[in-house]
Each structure stands twice: as C-alpha cells, then as structure tokens.
Amino acid sequence: MQPLTTEERARAFTSAKKADVLQKQRLPVRYHVEDFEIEDRPRRFLEAFASILKHTNYRMALDHYVRVSAKCSRCTANCQVYMATGDDRDIPCYRSELLLSVYRRHFTVSGVLRGRLLGDPGLTDEKIQEMAESFYNCTACRRCHFECPMGIDHGLVTHLGRYILSEIGIAPRALVVSTREQLTGATGNTSAIPVPALIDSLEFLSEEMQEEKGIDIPFPIDQEGAEYLFLPAVSDFIMEADTLMGNAAVFRATGDSWTVGTGYFDGINYGLFYSDQVLEHVVSKIRVEAERLKVKKILIGECGHASRSAKFFYPTFCGGRKALPVINIMEYTHQAWKEGRLKLRAGAITEPVTYHDPCNIARPGWIVEQPRELLKAFCSNYVEMTPNRRNNICCGGGGGTVSIDEIRPYRTLVGGKAKADQIRATGAKYCVAPCANCKKQLRELMEDQGIDCQIVGLHDLLYKAIVFD
C-alpha cells in the first residue's frame, strides 16, 4: 500500500468541523474534548493515572509490557493506519510507548530515580497533547497484537490511555454527548430515541413486513419471562430498518420468545472506547432491564462493539460465571439454521457478496464462521476479501472514531484506505458488515472513495431468503 502523498495528507487531516473548544484548550486534535479548564494538566493526568493504577489491574500489565517490549517493529506490518500514513507516530509500539514511558518515569522506582538524577522534568503538557491525538488515531482494532512476538496488546494500552485522558476531561465530544444521554438523559439511549417513537417505528416495521411477506411478524415489547432480551445498537431502530426486519423474521420462523425492553433497548457501549467507568455503568443498565423482564439470555444485535462489550464485560461487572449468558444475533440465527428451525432459500441472492469481519467479534475468534456459513447458504456468488476472518482489516472507524463526524476525511482517507482497497478488489455488489459502526464507516468510505458497493447487514440479505412454513 502506498503511503499518503502530501496533498492527501493535508486533505485527510483537515477537520470537517472546527470544534470551538480547541482554541481554548490548545489541543492540536481535530475533534474531541469536553469543555474544561486546562490548568495543571500534567499533574491531573498523573493523579488520574495513579488512581487508576491503584484500583484496577493495569499496573500488572504495564509492568510486564515495560519489561518485555523489544521494539522489534513487527507491528508495522499489521497496522492499517501506519500502512496508510507511513508516519512513525502511527506505529502501534510507538503509540504505546507514549504511555509506557510515562509509567516508567513516574510509577517505577528506577524511573523516578533516573528522572531525579538526570533532572528529567517528566510528563509535559505537549506529551499529553501528543497522547490525546495519538490514542484517537488508533482504531483499537487490535490487529497488531497478532504480530507482536512479545505478546503486547497495544489495544489495551490505547484503551488505558484513553481512559486516563477521559478522567482529565479529554474525550471525543461525540462519544461523551451520546453517553451522557444514555446514562443521565431522559431517553436513556445514545440516539435519544423516546419510547413512543421506538414503539411506533417497530409497529411500522411490522406493518411493512405484513405487506411484504403477507404474515404477521411482530416485535414483542416488554414480554416478561421471554427467552431473549434483544439489544441492537440503538441506531438500528432509526437507520437499519432492514436489519431489524431480518431479526424479527428469524424469530418468527423459529418461534422462540424474545423481547425488546422499553426500560432499556440500547446495545451501544462507548465505555469500551474511552472509560471503564462508563463501560460498567452501561453494562449495569442491561442488567437492570434483564432483571426487570426476567429474561434468560441477552441477545445483542448486529454490532461489533456492542457484542464485545456485552459478551466479555457483562460477566465482568455482573457476577462472573453466574451472569446471564450473552449471545449475538448471528450466533442465534446460525444455530437455528443448523438445527433446521430456519429455512433459507438457496440462491436467493445472485449478486457478488462479500463479508467484512467487525474487529470486535472476529478478533477473539468468536464470530467468524457463522455468518459465512449463513451467507453461503443463500448467496450463490460469495467472495472472500483478503485478509479475512480473525486477521481482517479494520473498517477504519473502529474504537469509537466513526462517531466523530469532524474526522470523516481522516477516517475515509487514512483509517479506511486499506479496507477500501480490499472491497474494491472483490468487486462485490453487497458488502455485509454486521456492525452499526462498520456500516456507517463503510458507507462513508464507499462514497468518499467512489466505490460502487452497497453496505448491508447480514439480516438485511437474510430477510430476502427466509422461507416461512
């Protein structure tokens, strides 16, 4: 892949919108941040860092990473951001070193002694600015982890770096605003959808399906004791009607009980991207709703980060092994299809179809083959992109960056460059991206890169292939 030219670079790094707080906060970052006063940033950063080290397990990981890091530069071969920019500051190991060096200097005995001896002033405001920019240029896709012989997870370091920054008020405005509505707002979800609007739109979708398929396909609402509590990325309710109709149709075909809860119906959890505290509070909202409706399982819709944050962090914050099981809708559909409870019409889709693996569900090897088997069951022309599966390339909007409209040029010219090349090479008519974030990013990517490929969810296509008894 060719790195950006100077001209492209200039274009990629222009902000679509100038945030008014930037001036005041002297941040070189093109988007982010909540409005806050910038006194004493280094001191506050170190205090936040110390507090986090005290109450969490990050110290153990940082100690280890500081000791083993061999600076071998192998991660350069796996980072789509670095491949696009060719900028040293985008090397995953370089990015992690920003934080690891602060840790070494301020939180290890040898670092503190060395600092005293050499008169090293330690963390500066410039360094914080560099971190603020760098940690959000990373899409937290964790592909570099696979190529690190030392086993360092740069995704974890980025996660921690963003968490510390958020504790001193530096976090993308788009994420903060959505999270605020989700946790303290009247609607309680990131898209600020009021319950009446939700119910109305679900009824509308049912009517649509009645017209199209000629059968009643309901969206059960507040069904106590249902098997599954369904939580898609809440934006699906307003943006991805086709995906939702596919989801409902699958349940109509299998006959299992499921429900959307009006108390809480949002799978999105931006805490995964910038704050462990937010992560926990959002997960707790799922738990409250699951307990209210006495469901047996939690079912997450087509969304990568929502699935990962529920699957891997619901047990973390809600009782470990005793927590309710969490599954993804694709797992469910795949299982039903394998058991013969869901019938798909072979050859329902004849155009070339390709599949994009969302990092958050593919990287751990969790959902990789299920969607492929489903697609191959009803698409006659399935093409694979390379690389794929666990080693897929990020859409370029991972780690919450897709929500930040100010950096659209960056996302589509830098972060998504590798992905665009991949999709272009397949020549597919449909690219299945079962993730709300990936869909938004890929649509913008197709538009900005001028690629003629329609970005859809898995259930959008599956809806066309379902055979009802």
């Binding site: 153990m60 890091s69 086993g151 958020s166 009021p194 109305d200 738990r287």
Partner: protein
C-alpha cells in the same frame, strides 16, 4: 592476565550467573503474583485458556508465524535466537565448564555445528543491528539499548570463534578470551534489567493480557471517588451517576414507559 581470566570465569561468572538467575526469578515472581492478584480481584474468571495456551506456544516456537509478514527479518531473527540459545549451552568446551560449575552436564553438539551456528549468530546479529539502523520504523522506536544489545551479544561469539578456530599467538588468545568471558558475564548481569528479560517473560505475556482485559467490578467508581470527581464530572453534567457501582444503577433505572404511541406525540424518527 591469567588471573583475570580465572577471576572472570570463576567468581565473577558465579556472581553474574547467580544475579541473573535471581533477577529473572524476581521478575517472574512479580509477574506471576501480579497476575494471580488481578485474577483474584476480578469477579469475572472466564478466560479463554485454550487461546492463551495456543498463542503462548505459538510464539515460543514461532516457525510459520514469522514468515507471515516481513519474512526476511523473521528468518534472521529466528536463526539469531536459535544460535544464541544453543551455542552457550551445548558447545563442547562449555559443557565441560557447566560440568565443573554445576557438578553435572549434558551432551554437547558437534564442533562443526557449533562453529556454523556461531557464524550464524555473528552474521544475523550484525544484520539485525544494520536492519535497525536502516529501517525507518525501527529507528523511530529504538532506544540506546536496542542498538547496543545485538552488538554486545555478538562479542562473545566472535571472540569465542576466533579463539577456538584461528591460529593466533598466546597473548592474543588470552586477550580475546578475556573479552569473551567478561562480555558474557556482563550480558548475564544485564539480562534481568533490560529488554532481554523477554527471554523469560515473553511466555507470560498472553496470560497477562488475558487477565488484564478483565476489570475489577466497581473500579471505575472507586477511581472517580479517589480523584474527588464525584461532584466534578468530566463526562456528565451534573451528578456523575449516583454513588455506588452497579447496585445504585438499579435504583435509578428508568421506569418502564406506560404510554402508548397513540397518546404521545411521536418524536423524530
């Protein structure tokens, strides 16, 4: 000169070796204790041990993995590591030393193999150094020790090779042997305190990472409380979220709406 050599391979070697072992033991124990503490602190014990084991073993024997990306570098690095581990332990002359030092020893590799491996280490060590100097990304990452290590590691191999293969005078031999022994002692002394600690720590990385991705419940709120942020939020206007962790969230859960769509003005769609 002779007494210096005797000192270097006698008391100093024993000291360096003991310090290396203790140093490595220390960091292993610290890491393991850290992992165990974290694991116990986490409520969530669900860890994909299979995946952890697969990745760990995969990177301990990285044949195949190193070829996926940057194969030339991968090959050089792998050969370097093999020679680095095999020759000091299995060279015939060293096996005798080990026997004298430990009281027992193991079989030696043939001298010709040892010779070839030694040349390989010298060549690949220099190649790694040059690669680091010549590769822009590697240069951007490198600290002084990263340049220093491949060169230092080559020293005992080069001197050892000359001493055992070349026709040289007694004086030169002694001088080279002195460098050979003292550089090896220095390497052992430095190992636990530098990046070469990865020789013992790298196999623990996967488990460290897996456990680190599990967070202790309630930590986020405790962090905020410690920082005195309970009333001075950074990401939520007004009160942050209530006080206690998830139990409090239950109390403030939004009440289920009892409205029907017909009664309410439907907001934006």
């Amino acid at each position: 000169m002779d007494s210096w050599i005797q000192f270097g391979r006698g008391p100093l070697f024993r000291l360096a070796f003991a310090l290396m072992l203790l140093g490595l033991l220390r960091i292993v124990v610290l890491t393991v204790v850290g992992v165990v503490e974290a694991y116990r602190r986490n409520e969530d014990k669900i860890i994909n041990w299979r995946e952890v084991a697969r990745q760990t073993v995969g990177w301990m024997f990285p044949v195949g993995r190193l070829w996926r990306k940057r194969p030339v570098y991968g090959t050089i690095s792998l050969l370097f590591h093999i020679g680095l581990i095999v020759v000091p332990l299995f060279l015939a002359a060293h096996v005798l030393l080990w026997k004298r030092f430990l009281g027992f020893a193991w079989g030696a590799i043939p001298q010709a193999v040892a010779n070839n491996l030694t040349i390989l280490v010298i060549a690949t060590g220099l190649a790694l150094f040059l690669g680091r100097v010549g590769h822009r990304a590697a240069r951007a990452l490198s600290r002084p020790q990263d340049y220093f290590w491949p060169l230092l590691l080559v020293v005992p191999f080069a001197t050892g090779y000359v001493c055992s293969n070349a026709q040289i005078g007694a004086k030169t031999y002694q001088g080279l042997m002195l460098i050979h022994i003292y550089s090896a002692d220095l390497i052992m002394l430095l190992i636990p305190f530098t990046k070469i600690a990865h020789c013992i720590l790298a196999p623990l990385s996967q488990v460290v990472t897996a456990v680190a991705w599990k967070f202790p419940a309630g930590a986020g709120d405790r962090v905020a409380t410690t920082l005195g942020y309970a009333g001075r939020p950074t990401w939520v206007v007004g009160s942050r979220l209530g006080t206690a962790p998830h139990h409090a969230a239950a109390a403030v859960a939004p009440a289920p709406a009892s409205v029907t769509p017909k009664e309410q003005e439907v907001c934006s769609k």
